[in-house]
Amino acid sequence: MNRKPSLAESIASHLVLVVAVAFALYPVLWVVSLAFSGARPPEARVFPVPHDPTLAHLEAVVLSTKKVGDETIYLFARQALNSILVATATAAAGVLIAIPTSYALARFRFVGKEAGVRSLLATQMFPTVASAIPLYLLLDYLGLLNSRTGLVVCYASTSVPFAIFQLRAVFESIPVDLEEAAMVDGATRFQAFLKVALPAARPAIAVTALFAFMSAYNEFILAATLLGKEEMFTLPVLLQSYIGEYDAQWERFAAGALIVSLPVMALFYVAQRHLVSGLTSGGVKG
């Protein structure tokens, strides 16, 4: 199977790869080009190369201010903070609630287990838009509109079940022998979970948290529905605000999009070693 491909095969496969990469990257390159282009309306060109290169759009996005009451706030910094706080809280809530729940689902038998799992699954079948209006009314009633807390609660309603399903499979894949060995070695049931099952699941937990973070960070529909004040916006809502009904500021949109994607890229870079599976291999036979 490890035969070396011939030159023709090699060229062909690389050609396919180049086309695929170009296809995936082309829109991104357009965004990059747009973000650094001078103040001329975008035009249809084949090669996405910036014209009249400038950092003006980046500056305009980052340094935009707004007067709230007496003080002037940096709008972008505030909105970036909103996004990061909301995404972090969503990831933390998702994982912290899902770990004990999924562990119980994976290891214990109890009344109503399967019914519970099924209803949890059922809640995930409705599209976000369908619940946007009810959630709006609910948060209004609770006084949580225009707040990060309200948004986190809504996001967690998706991230928690998702994390539960993910982590249940993970805990089920960890051999129960490991925890039994720990208990024979002198651990309590809880210590066996804490010192053996949890560390063995750590890479998967990191990945689950990353996913929850990213989906909250990127979420737009609920954020746009539930947040009315500019200073409470998350970044996706900010980006959308550049595209008005009569006036689309594509260069700013592009500049904003670039900045907004940086944290996600950084996270992926940091987390990629966790994305490599197989840390549990070797503990038991195989």
Binding site: P175, D177, L178, E180, A181, A182, M183, V184, D185, G186, A187, T188, Q191, K195, V196, P199, A200, R202, G278, L279, T280, S281, G282, G283, V284, K285
Partner: protein, 367 residues
């Protein structure tokens, strides 16, 4: 160290009655082996000893402590799992020290015991590796080491050799026995491998369908199996069984093979079976392949040989005798080819009741 005493143990999983009133006694410092086919309940019994399952009825004593309702960690036992169950996120050193740290053993003591165990098992160069960087044999040794450092009252082994290749298995088997003799720890070892059972055990328990069919020193059980199941389970190749009927002719007790009257007749030693000999009784005649020799004078039973395995040290002739499948062990020099019919004599036979499977041998020899 401590003795183990199990009385009237019952365990059900739903509708499945896995252990049916099992009683087992293992003297202090003895190496006990639980052997039986899969599903016989041997692993469940071990897990009950470990405290990983809870007994429905019955009691487990460790020394004079009743541990039946105690958590695993309160029992002071060490266990080697079939899968080894090494903690994947810890190095070998941390794996070994895990139990000691949980019990708040002083660091100096941990170092000392780790040193001893790694010297005993040759783990020195592996201490800073993770389990995934170890071979199967090395993992097995680490699992043993993790049990040894605990200095527990009782060692449990759950088929610890089944994931090793044949050569390594024979090696580790010897090592385990040596280790036991050196440590003198009471051990209970579960296996379905009769070679491990015979070679390791001081005292052997043969389990079948949730009951202990026979207990005792392995050679004693091999020589005097109490039931047809035990007779068939221990020994390789397995004992041959032939349907027969008891008859008495001219004061000599005979077992008439086959269903018709013209079948072969085997003379029986009346003393060995005593009052169990009743004319007309239907029995199973048991003959170990090794208790057979070629007849020189044309007497004996006819074996139609269908295949011969020449193993060098011996030859095994497979064929049919009195309508039943039969294996005979022959001298390697025996000139027997497939398709031939040879006459063989039985040097020693066992008799079992055709219905109950119980041995007819008088229990006099049982010490």
């Amino acid at each position: 160290m401590a003795s183990v005493k199990v009385t009237g143990l019952n365990k059900r999983f739903g509708d499945t009655h896995v252990l049916k009133g099992v009683s087992v006694e293992v003297p202090d410092g003895a190496f006990a082996v639980l052997v039986g086919p899969s599903g016989c309940g041997k692993s469940t019994l071990l897990r009950l000893l470990a405290g990983l399952e809870e007994a429905d009825e019955g009691h487990i004593f460790l020394g004079d402590r009743d541990v039946t309702r105690l958590e695993p960690r309160e029992r002071d036992i060490a266990m080697v799992f079939q899968s080894y169950a090494l903690y994947p996120h810890l190095t070998v050193r941390e794996n070994l020290a895990f139990g000691l740290k949980l019990r708040k053993t002083p660091a100096a003591e941990i170092d000392k015991r780790l040193g001893e165990a790694s010297e005993m098992l040759g783990l020195g160069p592996l201490l800073d590796r993770y389990p995934k960087a170890l071979s199967g044999g090395q993992r097995q040794r680490v699992a043993m080491g993790r049990a040894i450092v605990r200095r527990a009252q009782l060692f449990l082994f759950d088929e610890p050799l089944s994931n090793l290749d044949a050569a390594l298995r024979a090696q580790v088997r010897v090592d385990i026995r040596k280790l036991h003799d050196r440590l003198g720890a009471t051990s209970v070892y579960v296996t379905h491998d009769q070679v491990e059972a015979m070679t390791l055990a001081d005292v052997l328990f043969v389990l079948n369908k949730g009951v202990v069919e026979q207990a005792g020193p392995p050679l004693e059980i091999y020589a005097h199996p109490r039931t047809k199941f035990v007779a068939g389970f221990l020994g390789s190749p397995a004992m041959n069984f032939l349907e027969a009927r008891l008859e008495q002719r001219d004061g000599q007790w005979m077992a008439a093979l086959g269903r018709d009257a013209r079948g072969v007749q085997v003379a029986l030693d009346a003393e060995a079976f005593g009052e169990e000999l009743q004319a007309g009784r239907r029995v199973m005649l048991g003959v170990r392949p090794h208790d057979v020799e070629l007849s020189q004078d044309g007497s004996g039973a006819a074996l139609e040989v269908s295949i011969v395995e020449a193993l060098g040290v011996e030859s095994l002739a497979y064929g049919t005798l009195a309508g039943a499948h039969f294996v005979a062990r022959l001298e390697p020099t025996a000139k027997v080819g497939k398709g031939e019919t040879v006459r063989i004599l039985f040097r020693h036979v066992h008799l079992f009741d055709a219905d109950t499977g119980l041995s007819l041998r008088a229990p006099a020899k049982k010490a």
